[in-house]
Symmetry: C2
Protein backbone atom coordinates (compact mmCIF):
# COMPACT_ATOMS: atom_id res chain seq x y z
CA UNK A 1 0.00 0.00 0.00
CA UNK A 2 1.23 3.43 -0.96
CA UNK A 3 -0.95 6.22 0.36
CA UNK A 4 -1.06 9.71 -1.08
CA UNK A 5 -2.71 12.93 0.11
CA UNK A 6 -4.84 15.07 -2.14
CA UNK A 7 -6.73 18.30 -1.49
CA UNK A 8 -10.29 18.65 -2.75
CA UNK A 9 -12.16 21.91 -3.17
CA UNK A 10 -15.78 21.33 -2.19
CA UNK A 11 -18.87 23.34 -2.96
CA UNK A 12 -21.95 23.66 -0.75
CA UNK A 13 -20.35 23.70 2.70
CA UNK A 14 -20.80 26.77 4.87
CA UNK A 15 -20.49 25.90 8.56
CA UNK A 16 -19.13 23.52 11.16
CA UNK A 17 -22.20 21.31 10.78
CA UNK A 18 -21.26 20.76 7.14
CA UNK A 19 -17.71 19.89 8.21
CA UNK A 20 -19.01 17.28 10.69
CA UNK A 21 -21.38 15.86 8.14
CA UNK A 22 -18.80 15.51 5.37
CA UNK A 23 -16.23 14.09 7.81
CA UNK A 24 -18.66 11.38 8.97
CA UNK A 25 -19.55 10.33 5.46
CA UNK A 26 -15.90 10.28 4.30
CA UNK A 27 -14.89 8.18 7.33
CA UNK A 28 -17.49 5.60 6.37
CA UNK A 29 -15.56 4.79 3.16
CA UNK A 30 -13.07 1.95 3.83
CA UNK A 31 -9.54 3.03 2.96
CA UNK A 32 -10.31 6.75 2.87
CA UNK A 33 -8.83 8.87 5.65
CA UNK A 34 -9.96 12.48 6.05
CA UNK A 35 -6.75 14.20 7.23
CA UNK A 36 -8.34 17.64 7.45
CA UNK A 37 -11.85 18.81 6.62
CA UNK A 38 -12.83 22.48 6.75
CA UNK A 39 -15.49 24.62 5.07
CA UNK A 40 -14.91 24.28 1.31
CA UNK A 41 -11.89 22.00 1.52
CA UNK A 42 -10.90 18.44 2.41
CA UNK A 43 -7.46 16.87 2.58
CA UNK A 44 -7.80 13.13 2.07
CA UNK A 45 -5.29 10.31 2.42
CA UNK A 46 -5.78 7.10 0.45
CA UNK A 47 -4.13 4.47 -1.71
CA UNK A 48 -4.93 5.38 -5.33
CA UNK A 49 -4.73 1.69 -6.24
CA UNK A 50 -7.77 1.12 -3.99
CA UNK A 51 -9.72 4.40 -3.98
CA UNK A 52 -10.61 6.08 -7.28
CA UNK A 53 -11.55 9.68 -7.99
CA UNK A 54 -15.11 8.48 -8.69
CA UNK A 55 -15.34 6.86 -5.25
CA UNK A 56 -14.35 10.14 -3.62
CA UNK A 57 -16.76 12.20 -5.71
CA UNK A 58 -19.59 9.77 -4.95
CA UNK A 59 -18.92 9.98 -1.20
CA UNK A 60 -18.93 13.79 -1.29
CA UNK A 61 -22.17 13.70 -3.31
CA UNK A 62 -23.75 11.34 -0.76
CA UNK A 63 -22.98 13.92 1.90
CA UNK A 64 -24.86 16.56 -0.13
CA UNK A 65 -21.81 18.48 -1.43
CA UNK A 66 -19.80 18.58 -4.69
CA UNK A 67 -16.12 18.22 -5.57
CA UNK A 68 -15.26 21.14 -7.86
CA UNK A 69 -11.46 20.72 -8.00
CA UNK A 70 -8.67 18.44 -6.84
CA UNK A 71 -4.97 19.05 -6.58
CA UNK B 1 -48.46 0.02 3.89
CA UNK B 2 -49.58 2.71 6.28
CA UNK B 3 -47.29 5.71 6.37
CA UNK B 4 -47.06 8.17 9.21
CA UNK B 5 -45.29 11.51 9.58
CA UNK B 6 -43.09 12.34 12.53
CA UNK B 7 -41.09 15.44 13.38
CA UNK B 8 -37.53 15.05 14.64
CA UNK B 9 -35.55 17.70 16.47
CA UNK B 10 -31.95 17.49 15.29
CA UNK B 11 -28.78 18.83 16.86
CA UNK B 12 -25.68 20.00 15.01
CA UNK B 13 -27.25 21.64 11.96
CA UNK B 14 -26.69 25.34 11.40
CA UNK B 15 -26.99 26.24 7.70
CA UNK B 16 -28.42 25.32 4.32
CA UNK B 17 -25.43 23.06 3.64
CA UNK B 18 -26.42 20.97 6.66
CA UNK B 19 -29.99 20.81 5.34
CA UNK B 20 -28.76 19.56 1.94
CA UNK B 21 -26.48 17.04 3.56
CA UNK B 22 -29.09 15.58 5.90
CA UNK B 23 -31.68 15.50 3.11
CA UNK B 24 -29.34 13.53 0.83
CA UNK B 25 -28.51 10.96 3.48
CA UNK B 26 -32.17 10.53 4.53
CA UNK B 27 -33.24 10.07 0.89
CA UNK B 28 -30.74 7.22 0.57
CA UNK B 29 -32.72 5.13 3.08
CA UNK B 30 -35.32 3.00 1.24
CA UNK B 31 -38.82 3.70 2.54
CA UNK B 32 -37.91 6.95 4.27
CA UNK B 33 -39.28 10.14 2.75
CA UNK B 34 -38.02 13.50 4.01
CA UNK B 35 -41.15 15.68 3.76
CA UNK B 36 -39.43 18.80 5.10
CA UNK B 37 -35.88 19.35 6.33
CA UNK B 38 -34.78 22.65 7.85
CA UNK B 39 -32.05 23.71 10.29
CA UNK B 40 -32.68 21.74 13.50
CA UNK B 41 -35.78 19.89 12.32
CA UNK B 42 -36.88 17.16 9.93
CA UNK B 43 -40.38 15.96 9.11
CA UNK B 44 -40.18 12.37 7.87
CA UNK B 45 -42.79 10.11 6.31
CA UNK B 46 -42.44 6.34 6.63
CA UNK B 47 -44.22 3.10 7.39
CA UNK B 48 -43.41 2.25 11.03
CA UNK B 49 -43.76 -1.46 10.18
CA UNK B 50 -40.72 -1.05 7.88
CA UNK B 51 -38.65 1.79 9.33
CA UNK B 52 -37.72 1.79 13.02
CA UNK B 53 -36.65 4.66 15.27
CA UNK B 54 -33.15 3.13 15.32
CA UNK B 55 -32.95 3.22 11.52
CA UNK B 56 -33.80 6.91 11.55
CA UNK B 57 -31.35 7.72 14.34
CA UNK B 58 -28.60 5.80 12.54
CA UNK B 59 -29.21 7.69 9.29
CA UNK B 60 -29.07 11.05 11.07
CA UNK B 61 -25.85 9.94 12.81
CA UNK B 62 -24.34 8.92 9.45
CA UNK B 63 -25.00 12.45 8.25
CA UNK B 64 -23.05 13.82 11.24
CA UNK B 65 -26.02 15.06 13.28
CA UNK B 66 -28.06 13.76 16.25
CA UNK B 67 -31.75 13.19 16.92
CA UNK B 68 -32.54 14.79 20.28
CA UNK B 69 -36.34 14.49 20.27
CA UNK B 70 -39.22 13.10 18.21
CA UNK B 71 -42.89 13.88 18.24
Amino acid sequence: MSAIEKTYTIEGMSCGGCVNSLTRVLKSVPGLEPVKVEVGRAVLRFDPAVITADTIKAAVDRAGFSVIAEQ
